[in-house]
Symmetry: C2
Subunit: 255 residues, 2 copies
Amino acid sequence: MSQPGELLVVGLGPGPDQWRTPEVTEALSRSTDLVGYQTYLDRCPPRDGQCRHASDNRVELDRARLALALAREGRTVAVVSGGDPGVFAMAAAVFEALDADPAARDILVTVMPGVSAMQAASARLGAPLGHDFCVISLSDNLKPWSLIERRLKAAADGDFVIALYNPASKARPAQIIQAFDLLRTHKSGETPVAFARAIGRPGENMLITTLAEADPRVADMATLVIVGSSQTRLVPRPGAAPWIYTPRSTPDLAG
Amino acid sequence: MSQPGELLVVGLGPGPDQWRTPEVTEALSRSTDLVGYQTYLDRCPPRDGQCRHASDNRVELDRARLALALAREGRTVAVVSGGDPGVFAMAAAVFEALDADPAARDILVTVMPGVSAMQAASARLGAPLGHDFCVISLSDNLKPWSLIERRLKAAADGDFVIALYNPASKARPAQIIQAFDLLRTHKSGETPVAFARAIGRPGENMLITTLAEADPRVADMATLVIVGSSQTRLVPRPGAAPWIYTPRSTPDLAG
């Protein structure tokens, strides 16, 4: 049997090459095989002789198993996500596959961090994640909606800034509306809200509003939604939407 | 009066050059002035003729004001953080300074995202942030301890994975101990816990344990602490500490 190969779990960042780390660029160039969602593989620099195994979205575990199988044959396999592979992306699926397959654990696995969508959105908006925050996926494909509600309520109870991934899709148009209904009963209507769409990619767009006035139906799968804490503020920006930021300090309201 | 200059708010990533984005490398090379904590300026590639304004840690607002003043003189100024400037770093301080100084708002400000410490730690550990998570700074220099306690309790109530920044310093040895005392009353003792120290830098070290067995006194300012959710799991890794990951799916416990 051949020597086990190598599995590189990489993220391209949210869009442009300038947000992809040199470590990931090097990993892509030395991989014999790339495994990932077609949209992400299309963003990898071309390389002669490299095998590309594209798959549809929403088959993450199959993709992870294929990558492990190729690596066991001695290949150098990059599993490609957008953003950071560790944040709502392929790294968790790879370890789920490894957890279920003890024989695959002699493969050398390396996870490489990347810039995630919330960070690109935060940079364009100002510094909304400048203080304590929560990160929640609104997709209930793999978890019960009751858990998402519990987490939204806990995030409001803790007065966290909230970053919402996967707010809506064609198959799931209702979750973001239900989420906003819940947040409106627990947070001030004046809370700043930002919809950051396709940041760093064609069609980039940002909308800054308040929790009371927001129309959550503007969100789609390419949108990252940020809901402020009680301290999140706006700063006027000449010729553009205001900056949005969360100060590092919080007054001692009990004091 | 001269034309206003440009302010670039950048992050170097947690350590090695291979985690610094090309966008930030380019920004550093075209800046006339770098402003930041000495430790971070030491990590910037040398450039002839560039002015470096080093400061001590914990004077973030003074540093932001200096950067705005230089940019108003027409300079191209990079404000340098480690990690991602938007996550417990200089971006919030820059917008605090801009909020307080309307005359400075004609400066062109650009924030550039980067890889934050929790992402580097997550990559080395496996995929502990693979599902919904909270990010909390334990420093009470700028916020009341009561708010930190409220957030820790909310994070436990929501069964989030928890990433703790600034867990302890020589001046604040007690907070991480108090935080663990609180988390132990709200979460299972079996919950996986990781202490990830100086990831990507000399002296990198990881310790994986459980909430019941952890000795939080091992944490210092260079440590990122991750406390799992009820679903966070370990996978054996040959010749090394186990991988730690949080699956993408959560069973419907009510079902």
